[in-house]
């Protein structure tokens, strides 16, 4: 029998898998399965295990150990490599998150196999897997293939079709006995960002982005207000970040975050090539800019040529009105 497709679980650090796992598991099933989840955590929950089963994981390899939190790549890599040596999965997939990106690269090096990072498409071609991944920050697409199994890939969020959760499904839970090595690096502290209460940029289904047209840091509050109404993350262009208006973690584009939300709305964003590279795979693009010649209008599905300071409050008002109905 062909080896399984492993899905490495990204969780909320409180015992629940993140929603993006529905996309990874859905894609693994589409590639033919069998689908197995590999979950490294210090504490899993029954709800979390049920959630993975409901999405379609037939088996969960549960690696539950206090030494696995907080994430350290050098620790995680050993038990998973040990397990892979005996279970021989044919693929290992994970979503793109800060820790999975690092972990999967480290694991690929340990296993001596290739890694396709930030993939946006996976397709079987006979006995081979071909991944599609944006390069040059999305200016081109690259097709890549592996010399051997397991095929390892990280998957960009919001691109792959999520599995529908089906209640009543169950997964076989295996708790393999594996060696968790002592860590060389030690955890000191976690500093939480002041929460905006809005979703994380790379995970959000709706992203609002403010560019140079925002005129200053104090004006982002109007985007945050709109974001609060429709559940959107608020990002910024490089021009706005370099001007010091927003911290770099909010930057969208070639030297910031690459995003693929269902809806991207740019306000006062001109559409420099390196910004477009970071958001052009968004499903629907809206541009609001005073300048009708702004390059962003060339890739926008909907555009309004107007002052963002008039448009944003109107949008907030209109969405509020609809939500109250």
């Amino acid at each position: 029998m062909a080896g399984a497709l492993w899905c490495v679980v990204e969780d909320d650090r409180k015992g629940m898998p993140k929603k993006v796992m529905a996309e990874v598991i859905g894609e693994a099933a589409r590639l033919g399965g069998p689908v197995e989840a590999v979950w490294l955590t210090d504490k899993a929950t029954d709800e979390g295990l049920q959630q993975l089963a409901a999405w379609g994981a037939g088996k969960v390899w549960l690696l539950e150990n206090a030494g696995l939190a907080p994430y350290r790549g050098e620790v995680w890599v050993s038990p998973v490599a040990e397990l892979a040596a005996t279970a021989s999965p044919r693929a290992i997939l994970a979503p793109v998150t800060s820790r999975q990106r690092e972990f999967m690269a480290r694991l690929a090096a340990r296993l001596g196999v290739g890694l396709s990072a930030d993939s946006v498409g996976l397709a079987l071609n006979g006995d081979a897997l071909v991944a599609t991944r944006p390069v040059y920050a999305g200016k081109l697409l690259s097709k890549v293939t592996w010399a051997r199994q397991p095929w390892m890939a990280t998957l960009r969020p919001n691109v792959f079709k999520p599995a529908d959760a089906q209640a009543g499904k169950s997964a076989q839970v295996e708790r393999p006995s594996l060696t968790i090595p002592a860590a060389q690096m030690t955890f000191v502290e976690r500093r939480e960002e002041a929460s905006t209460g809005l979703p994380e940029l790379t995970e959000a289904e709706i992203v609002l982005s403010g560019g140079r047209g925002m005129k200053g840091p104090e004006n982002y509050v109007i985007l945050e207000e709109l974001g609060g109404v429709i559940g959107a993350a608020v990002g910024a262009s490089r021009a706005a970040v370099d001007a010091g208006w927003r911290p770099h973690r909010f930057q969208i584009g070639q030297t910031g975050r690459t995003i693929s939300p269902k809806l991207y709305m740019g306000f006062g964003v001109s559409g420099a090539i390196q910004h477009l590279a970071g958001m052009r795979t968004s499903k629907v693009i809206v541009a609001v800019n005073k300048d009708p010649e702004a390059p962003i209008f060339k890739i926008a599905d909907y555009g309004i040529v107007a002052d963002l300071f008039e448009v944003v409050p109107e949008l907030t008002k209109e969405f509020k009105r609809l939500l109250e109905k």
């Binding site: 350290r72 200016k139 890549v144 909907y302 555009g303 109107e314 209109e318």
Partner: protein, 259 residues
């Protein structure tokens, strides 16, 4: 303290890249080449560590064709002491793991206490070489770091790594690999004196054979490059702002079903 900085030469962010005649690589005609921006943060941080300690050596390392020398030269102009250029056609199609193995061989020969690199090169955007280098060496690694403090004895480093929703602070024993995230510093511009001085600094050429690599075969290979599918034509919604906004919201909900 000796620090190695890994740098890669990439097309400038403003460059419109085109597919080359073999369909697998970009057409390099007319491209302006730069040091990958994240690698510049790594170079800057390495120089600051050396300056703060008042002694040490910063060595820039690059894997790439002949033109990569320009990238190394600009790191020397910024202040790196010398450079190593892994320049071998056998490594031209190296994947991240092959590159990591080659760079690890350089690290073993140089035996630094710290290796710095950028979080990813902005050409293939894999973001894998730094951590794979650490794995090959058996060293700890912290990726996407925003800050670092090396202790007085150069025995450990405390770093803050950017994660979703915050910063995680770790202490790593040295030697270790760190990858720099944007925002950790503001890279300096080379001074005229720096640029003149760089011409006299050593760039050592290294071949795959010098590194004793068992194999240079890639585990992952590019089969094709493709242009992005064109986006469907859009429409500009005319009218007074208030009406245009109403129509936009209607279209987003009813036509595009985006919200």
């Amino acid at each position: 303290m000796k620090i190695l900085v890994m740098v890669k030469q990439v097309p400038d962010t403003a460059t419109q890249v085109k597919i080359g005649s073999d369909g697998k690589q970009i057409d390099t005609t007319g491209i302006t080449w730069i040091v990958s921006p994240y690698d510049e943060f790594a170079v800057e941080e390495a120089l600051r560590i050396k300056e703060k300690r008042g002694q040490g050596e910063v060595v820039a390392v690059s894997l790439g064709p002949d033109r990569a020398k320009e990238a190394l030269r600009s790191t020397l102009a910024m202040g790196c002491d010398r450079a190593i250029h892994v320049n071998d056609p056998a490594l031209a199609a190296a994947d991240t793991l092959t590159a990591a193995r080659a760079l690890a061989a350089v690290v073993k020969q140089e035996a630094p206490q710290l290796v710095l690199c950028g979080r990813q090169a902005i050409d293939d955007d894999m973001g894998a070489v730094g951590v794979q280098l650490a794995e090959v060496l058996g060293w700890p690694c912290a990726s996407w770091i925003m800050e670092e403090v090396v202790d007085a004895d150069a025995k450990s480093v405390r770093v803050g790594r950017q994660v979703e929703g915050g910063l995680e602070v770790f202490e790593l024993p040295l030697p270790a690999v760190l990858s720099a995230q944007k925002g950790m510093n503001e890279p300096r511009y080379p001074t005229l004196k720096g640029i003149m001085g760089a011409k006299k600094k050593e760039i050592k050429d290294v071949k795959a054979a010098d590194l004793g690599l068992a194999s240079t075969t890639s585990e992952l290979s590019v089969t094709a490059l493709e242009a992005l599918p064109p986006r469907p034509p859009g429409r500009v919604i005319p009218g007074e702002t208030k009406d245009a906004v109403k129509e936009l919201v209607r279209a987003l909900r009813e036509d595009a079903k985006a919200i």
